[in-house]
Amino acid sequence: MILRRQLLTALPAGLMLTGCDALTRNSTAKAIIGSGEQATYRWQRLVGRDGLAREFSAADISPVFKVNGTRAPTNPLWQALSVGGFADWRLKVSGLVSRELSLSLPQLRALPQRSQITRHDCVEGWSAIGQWTGPQLASILKAAGLRDGARYIVFLCADDYGGEASKGGLQSSSRYYESIDLVDAFHPQTILAHSLNNQPLSTGNGAPVRLRVERQLGYKQAKYLMQIVVADSLAPFGGGKGGYWPDRGYEWYAGT
């Protein structure tokens, strides 16, 4: 009797839960639910294409800028560059460009610099405020010259990342990368930051250079940059979804 009553109450709830979990794995449901990202992307481009992220005052800077993701790359190439103070580091710019570039840190610092105190919003929910300094991505892209068909700017990093238990879901290790569209690429606040709070980037925060694309979440702010590729499609890179986290189910457009 007790068993039957327990079954009667537990069964519908159990069925509903397993039903919902199954639905999250169903490919048709995934396609419908995933359409929300396109709606959000189009909406934000419609109402805020040229909007600027809030810039804060020095008093708002977080005492410690939380380190997340890779804390120290294990890639021997990056480690060797780090030991050498990144004197031999070069940022390659290739793909659909008129001129391939290979830029050293002093060359990046010699370009016109932008300094901005912005809020970094992690997909997990926390925020930190810091001052980032570096050249605008737009000036580098203009120097390289975009060829016809260019749609995305892809950022290839030095770190292999293994995922994070706190996020749950799929966990697997691969080379970190990210990508953005041309609207964000030519946005005035999109910079290649070499300094945080007027200090060269620490290892944890992405030395020697990381991307800042201020209107999107933290996982778009690719650290340990090695190469920029101008592309017409995201398919050839990583899992084909345009980034380490997008390949693991996160939105490619991380404006929300």
Binding site: D21, T24, I32, E37, P63, G168, E214, Q216, T256
Partner: protein, 281 residues
């Protein structure tokens, strides 16, 4: 009270009759809203599990805990964990529900909310976010349809917003007493909402749901850049996240009360009316 029942032609006094209680748009938006709210609640609790702390201000993280006012966590061993909820300086033991709960495999899960309260049932920030934002669009568009109809037809002010006469202390007290006695309106009186119901429905639809939508938007860095007033309205993004959570809790409270009152006042009759639109009085 001149409550015009939409369909009451030549009713024979004293004889039960079927009347239109809820129009089609009200029924459709009600059930769409119900599905959206439940999915948003359950995916939201899963998302919270990725960073079960709340702060006031623009920023806040494990490296900036002076801004923190709420935290869910667990301590002890994996075999016998203690779940807890910290609110300010006070700690509440929440073992079994918050912080540490038993999963479907009968093992302890170290997670903010238990598997039966979240969607997906296990930690999965990516899936929970995608579902949350899809149903956020549903909530917004559905809410606008309901609100647009309510304003244009005048029904919002006639049927939902409490009138000054209803808000008079004596009237308010009378309705509280009737509710406490579980005396629910019958006959013609069942065709319109009494003041407590109006306060609850207006509070949810005109205050709490707009609050979760605006605080939700304020957490979006893209929307904050487009509409800079969004996060400042709440005193910063982390404040908006806190208010989002509190408004969610209030909506969950309303939902529980709503379901209890539907059960007490005749669940078959009330659900029938919200599905078919017709009520026998």
């Amino acid at each position: 009270m001149a409550t015009a029942a939409p369909f009451s032609p030549d009713a024979i006094p004293g004889r039960p009759r079927r009347v239109l209680r809820h129009r089609l748009i009200v029924r459709v938006t009600h059930w769409t809203n119900a599905i959206a709210i439940i999915v948003l609640l359950m995916t939201g609790l899963n998302i919270f599990g990725a960073h079960p702390r709340l702060y006031w201000g623009n920023a806040g993280s494990v490296d900036q805990v002076e801004r923190q006012w709420l935290r869910v966590g667990a301590s002890g061993t994996m075999a016998a964990p203690q779940g807890w909820l910290d609110v300010g300086d006070r700690r509440f033991d929440t073992t079994g529900v918050l912080g540490a709960s038993v999963g479907p495999n009968n093992r302890w899960n170290i997670v903010a909310f238990p598997h039966w309260a979240t969607l997906p049932s296990m930690r999965d920030l990516a899936t929970a976010r995608t579902w949350h934002f899809f149903f956020a669009w549903v909530l917004i568009l559905n809410g606008l349809a309901w609100l647009g109809h309510g304003v244009l037809s005048g029904r919002l002010f006639r049927d939902i917003v409490p009138s000054a006469r209803q808000l008079a202390p004596a009237h308010l007290w009378h309705d509280i007493v009737e509710h406490a006695k579980l005396n629910f309106p019958k006959g013609e009186a069942a065709l319109s909402y009494e003041v407590l119901q109006r306060i609850a429905y207006a509070g949810v639809t005109l205050v709490l749901i707009p609050t979760v939508i605006l605080t939700g938007l304020a957490m979006s860095p893209g929307m904050d850049a487009a509409w800079p007033f969004l996060d400042q309205l709440w005193g910063g993004r982390q404040s908006a996240r806190s208010v989002h959570f509190l408004a969610m809790a209030a909506i969950a409270g309303f939902l529980a009360l709503h379901l209890v009152l539907v059960l007490l006042s005749g669940p078959i009759r009330q659900n029938g009316a919200m599905i078919t639109g017709r009520l026998t009085i």
